[in-house]
């Protein structure tokens, strides 16, 4: 999927939330949801839910997450 900065920011925020240490998770969760709200409001789609937006982004986020994990694995193998 072609990307735009807003989409990238949402994926980064979700990844940060999911991978945060436990004491940071509430804060990261709120930051991620703020971005979802902003995106929907900016598009004039306030009636759509966060869940619906996440559903639409499901496959693209899996691609993003896969790429991130492969990058991290490559970094780790260079260190070892």
């Amino acid at each position: 999927m072609s990307r735009n900065p807003q989409l990238e920011a949402i994926f980064e925020a979700r990844y940060a939330w999911e991978n945060a240490a436990a004491p940071q998770r509430a804060e990261r969760f709120a930051a991620y949801h703020r971005l979802l709200t902003d995106a929907l409001v900016r598009a004039g789609m306030s009636a759509a839910s966060h869940e619906e937006l996440e559903n639409a982004l499901r496959d693209a986020y899996r691609e993003f997450r896969r790429a991130r994990r492969l990058e991290e694995r490559a970094k780790l193998s260079r260190i070892r």
């Binding site: 999911e18 998770r25 995106a39 598009a43 789609m45 619906e52 996440e54 559903n55 639409a56």
Partner: protein, 141 residues
């Protein structure tokens, strides 16, 4: 010889969850310690999900195991929150995390459950949302 790290398996996830449940029921540890054990089980679950379902194509057995353990972790997290509320919350200074952090971890699990086992959106609706919100268009499949 290169070090080969064996990826985590669902069996390990299940064993940790089962042990945590036994410890909780036996009141073997304090509530903050039960929460910490749950956080670690959730992290192991997510790591296994990545290894077996993100970095490769999930098999039917992966999906079955995932469905089982995500439901179990959600139930356990909710139970710990209920127990904590019944005791008047976490004691001050007893933990570095707050109940809101537990709730935010539960949301990760609920999202994983919806995304892997919930209803899939129609292709037309998906395209409509992506176009409206991000101005992203994909070629028709």
């Amino acid at each position: 010889m290169a070090e080969v790290l064996e990826p985590p398996h669902w069996q390990a996830v299940g064993l940790v969850i089962d042990q945590n449940q036994r410890d909780f029921l036996a009141s073997r540890y304090s509530l903050p310690e039960d929460f910490l054990a749950w956080f670690k089980a959730a992290d192991l679950f997510r790591e296994t999900q990545d290894e077996r379902m993100i970095l490769r194509e999930p098999t039917p057995d992966d999906l079955r195991q995932h469905r089982t353990w995500v439901a179990s972790l959600i139930a356990e997290g909710e139970r710990l929150i209920t127990e904590s509320i019944a005791r008047g919350g976490l004691p001050d200074g007893a933990a570095r995390f707050k109940l809101a952090d537990v709730q935010a971890t539960l949301e990760i699990l609920y999202l994983a459950q919806r995304e892997w086992h919930g209803a899939k959106m129609s292709e037309a609706r998906r395209r409509e949302i992506l176009k409206a919100v991000f101005n992203v268009e994909e070629p028709a499949a």
